[in-house]
Assembly symmetry: C2
Homo-oligomer: 531 residues x 2
Amino acid sequence: MGVYRIISVTICAFIAFPTLTVAAKKIQHDAEYYVVQTQHAEQWAAEDDELDKRLKALRDKYGNPPNIVHIMWDDNGIGEFGNKLFNKIRGYNTPKINALAKEGATFARMYTEPSCTPSRAAALTGRLPIRCGMFKVLFPPDGMGLPGEEVTIAEVLSKAGYATAFYGKAHQGDIKESYPHNQGFDEANASLYNQAGPTWWNELGEAAGATVGWSKDTWDKEYALDQNFRPYDYVMAIEAKKGDKVAKEWAVPSIESYNRLHSHIEKKSMEFIQKNAKSKEPFYLAYWPNLPVRPPAKLPGETWSTSSANWYAEAVEDLDKSVGKVIDELKRLGIAENTLVIAMADNGPMEETAPVGPWSIFRGGKGSFLEGGIRVTAWAWWPGVIEPDTVIGDIIHISDLFTTFARLGGGMKYIPTDRVIDGIDQTALLINGDTHGRRDYNIVYSGPMLAAITKQQFKRHFIGDRPGLVGKGFFNLYWDPREEHGMMQELLWAWGNFELMKERHEKLIEKYPNTPPRHGDPLGGIERISR
Amino acid sequence: MGVYRIISVTICAFIAFPTLTVAAKKIQHDAEYYVVQTQHAEQWAAEDDELDKRLKALRDKYGNPPNIVHIMWDDNGIGEFGNKLFNKIRGYNTPKINALAKEGATFARMYTEPSCTPSRAAALTGRLPIRCGMFKVLFPPDGMGLPGEEVTIAEVLSKAGYATAFYGKAHQGDIKESYPHNQGFDEANASLYNQAGPTWWNELGEAAGATVGWSKDTWDKEYALDQNFRPYDYVMAIEAKKGDKVAKEWAVPSIESYNRLHSHIEKKSMEFIQKNAKSKEPFYLAYWPNLPVRPPAKLPGETWSTSSANWYAEAVEDLDKSVGKVIDELKRLGIAENTLVIAMADNGPMEETAPVGPWSIFRGGKGSFLEGGIRVTAWAWWPGVIEPDTVIGDIIHISDLFTTFARLGGGMKYIPTDRVIDGIDQTALLINGDTHGRRDYNIVYSGPMLAAITKQQFKRHFIGDRPGLVGKGFFNLYWDPREEHGMMQELLWAWGNFELMKERHEKLIEKYPNTPPRHGDPLGGIERISR
């Protein structure tokens, strides 16, 4: 009886906690943060004072707060690159990313959302994508997208005086309010969807077996009543500046334009860096290349140089070169010491492309709430500030980048206080390194469902559980990184606390309700190229 | 028709190959070696000339051929340690082994046999364990062991003038001829069996749930007719010198003596290194500690220091310290530049100890012919000779160490020529590094069965195949390191060549028949401690 009373009292206390102690106009984090924060309040406050001094000294030295470059690619798990051992296992070479890892910090527990759209929404807004209807991966035609009232890191940093640019894959929907130049970016070339369309949905994709039933001659010859049941007409990428009433379609979707797209966004990113390098204002660049994805077969006249010899391996080396160009350019321009680079994947490997394609040393891939779906390759690089050749074992979530970038850029006051911000300020983790993290938990959604919660090295799966009785969905990630050996008896002590975490999280949603998925005119406000 | 004729002719030519072209008194390798060797004969001969000069220069400089220390532990797959990222994923620290990796070369494809006894036999004899009846893991009471007529690396190097010692887990049987001091080692303390007996088969093991039905009070109370159906009486380790008529039982098996055993063999190893460091003769040390295994629960008064907090993690850190002591001592004694250290596991993780215990990033564990069973952590260290901080992607098999150590020690002429030696001389790989390997194949046995063959990045499973028709047992290890996506259509071109490899291998066994398992008196020639 005593135990139950304690749990019951604790539920009430902790559920009430966020509203009781957080003053108005302060950032509202998820409930779990305060459970941790109250245990470290003094220490963190002191550390923050030191960090503020450090940041001020840097700002005085360079005249600006740091430039921030967020490089984010697709579908890539731990085990693929970042060191030579992984390269040898996979049969390709990534010298530039390996060098980045040696010069910076490697995250051992960078968690994203399970797929592109949610991860990118979390990075942009600092919020779990469930909070704004961006919880599932979007496919054309959507008529959906990131709601305009979401406040993105581009809006926050713009207000703090940053030049901002978005180049690459947005995947935030095809309604007007969702386009990056309408979400705070000064300039953008943004892919609206994922790469399946331009790379697979064509004759080459059919010839390579990557697409079935696309071309008209592969249709059912007698019973296909609906002649529109193919998304033939969609926009691959748009280019626009903040304030543009109409965005321009960048090119008609095709393999050729897809291949050109990468060179284009790379070039635009370089130009953006170059023109802002000597500016009085700092810059923020979201460089989210449509890699390592590419057409699924050799193009005419193409030869492959990787030992692994497949489209994925070739695309990985393209990605490596592209990341290398950014790093080299920052060094060449002499701004490396005042630029933070975060380089990472947006989620785990897309296992469905097997046997070719990405892998993870963890179980599960893109779309899964298992570690393989959400625990990705990620590095932080900031010469002179981030300790080189280190590994960070703390939990960090992709939404934390929002808040951390805001802190570094002097934009904390522009973070909205009328909603839940899941992203925690992890400036201490970046600057002071391993063990200086500010969260030991992660709330894992799979689509609209709360699928799992991670706390320290323990993870509870809610999906697959036995309703009404705790199941074997408890995992010790140090012991069992692949989540293959669920326990119950051994971790029964954690049952009550995991229930509490879930209840606290859900209770706060009652106070700050989720915004439902935002619908609108598909491809609204785009000037199409005549075809 | 044309294709079939070519294959048929090729079979005959290649099957006949080894007997036709290898002169008498030359080492007889497996047939597949000559397929590779004929394609690189001139290049390798020239490289060997250069290597001989290099080795002679080293010998002139140090007065001796290199000392060789072979450290080999238990059950450990790639993904567990060797770098900080793996440490963070697993929740323990191995700074000494990580440093070893940075100072030396990491093997990405070191293949062992699937379990302790066969792997250790292969290391000692340079032969696939099927060739001498050592193809399965032994458990007490055996009455079996390594045949006396097998020529071990200790015999080869003894003839070449080396002092030799064996300290640790031999697991080569409990018949007299199998004991290390009867197999060429000058001195030895050798565990005859694996660690299950002293660690699990006792009250602590029962209390921890690691052993069931051991103590008398757990027996069937009514129907247990056979009162001897428990291996209560066995020897944990013996200590002896070459020529001793009787080996001494080192201690009565118990948790206490097991824990003492590790300190003892570590101390004996250090003493052996110290006394030979200044000798005119070089030394060979097989230091095969009974780690990372230990009692499966906390001992009275013990506290655990790892974050992972289990017996395995604690044992891993013990292993790390032990490896570090050897390296530090070699440096302290000033002989590091003339000492090759190979540090490695004997096979993949013992998955049955899950959720606690070792893991591998590959699929399968100890006992399996999958990569997880046979592709292990391994490093080579030789300051000034082996390029630091490198990764070797070539295939190397544990039997290669035999031949390579013989070459380095000037003992090639003592390798017997009346039998198949599977181990290839990989001196070029050690000294010239990545891509200088001399095999691109691996014959994988599972017990007495030829289970798989690896050739370059491809692997064909024979176990699980469809008799009479090729199955989906073809894997591309670069694409699919976990062997989860068997192919057939895509790799059908390799069918014929894999069949040829198997036939050539089997044909040579007809000429050089396997020695059947050697039986004898269990625990023969041991002076038991009175109990």
